[in-house]
Symmetry: C2
Subunit: 228 residues, 2 copies
Amino acid sequence: MISEIKQVKWININPSIMEPQKELVRIVIVEDDQLIRESFATLINENENYICVSDYDNCEDAIKNLSSDNPHIILMDIGLPGMSGIQGIRKIKNVKPDVDIITVTVHEEDDKVFDALCAGSTGYLTKNISPKQMINAINEVLTGGAPMSTNIARKVIRSFQKSTESPLTSRETEVLQHLARGKSYTMIADELYINKETVRTHIKNIYQKLNVNSKAGAIEKATKNKLI
Amino acid sequence: MISEIKQVKWININPSIMEPQKELVRIVIVEDDQLIRESFATLINENENYICVSDYDNCEDAIKNLSSDNPHIILMDIGLPGMSGIQGIRKIKNVKPDVDIITVTVHEEDDKVFDALCAGSTGYLTKNISPKQMINAINEVLTGGAPMSTNIARKVIRSFQKSTESPLTSRETEVLQHLARGKSYTMIADELYINKETVRTHIKNIYQKLNVNSKAGAIEKATKNKLI
DNA sequence: AAATAAATCACTCATTATGGGGGATGTTAA
DNA sequence: TTAACATCCCCCATAATGAGTGATTTATTT
């Protein structure tokens, strides 16, 4: 009986009617090191669910062919000749906002990480990851995740966290937060249900403690030291 | 020869001289659901490297015993009776900044996530994780990582990312960014090498486009819509 | 009980900053 | 060749700011 059923399948000219072709995940690689680029491409094509539709050694070409490549995911180096990967991410996200970009790089500097994420990268991997981890990362993106190397994740989390030792009192911190949102003394007073003069006093004390003498100075120092 | 060496080991009264006791990772659980609390504790104690030194159903008690428990890691629920987990995280980090807190909760709301991370949480897990994932998360923290559920990671990343469709020109965005840092028109003009009057014009246009009529309004709207 | 920190409010004074109105010019991209 | 963008200019009234010098009250700590 089993063989009979199989027969039915075999006489079908187009097998896709019986076994509909799986929709492959289209991946583009942008990476100037040929060796790395090719090894990524091989890795991707070895997986039955993925296809590397194109690979480029620069952003400009990748952007040019973006609509014909029509990728779901782009693996992106950010130390590229010509247009930087960061700018590239921005442009790509402008043209095709729904593509997921995974930044893959040797750089672990805070600036690069945050620039890439701000620009629109969905994940941030360092190049020392294993092939298995790379495939995992792609899977994660496809299921709504945001793959990051562990130390990158820690950096990202740390960027949220305020300093535990602030010279400012909680009330002063509150006032400064409002100031940093562009509020005037009068508005701050109204929102905190205190007198404008009290706000002035708090701000005078804040300036003294932070050793500054202007709004901009206080906001800059407080931001840098994660006081707000 | 091997047996001889073993002999030497056996005649030792205190075996720790030969096999020094492994330093156990001390873990504290704060979770008001008794069932969950006990299952976490069991899971931890089953692992030879970990020990659950204490478990509490509220923050206050956990803080009280913080120095005697001396934990490396705290698993923290944030929907607690009495002091909220968020406040608890803040207090704990103030008293003992080097402890790593992993928030474990049913809540996936953006606010809770960011509050917990801002307060000093090193990881953020939702309660639907498997025992294996929980152990993995603890390992990640110990190796400098920041474990997060995938959708939490995406939320965190998204919080960095600017809108791709802004009504503002790049120059206007630039001006607004400076304004949001508390700079005056004059300072902005100096830093962008343009005339103060030009800054004024940009700001007038920004206000019109954002449909506001003040600095605070513009900053609020721009922040909410991720234009800056 | 005395000292300290924190939060609150008051008044003056000079200077800047801000928002709204009007208009203008040159460049670049669609 | 329009439209968008970036640049600059002037007037005006009001609000905001920074510095100075004070005071009161309420906790908390010593």
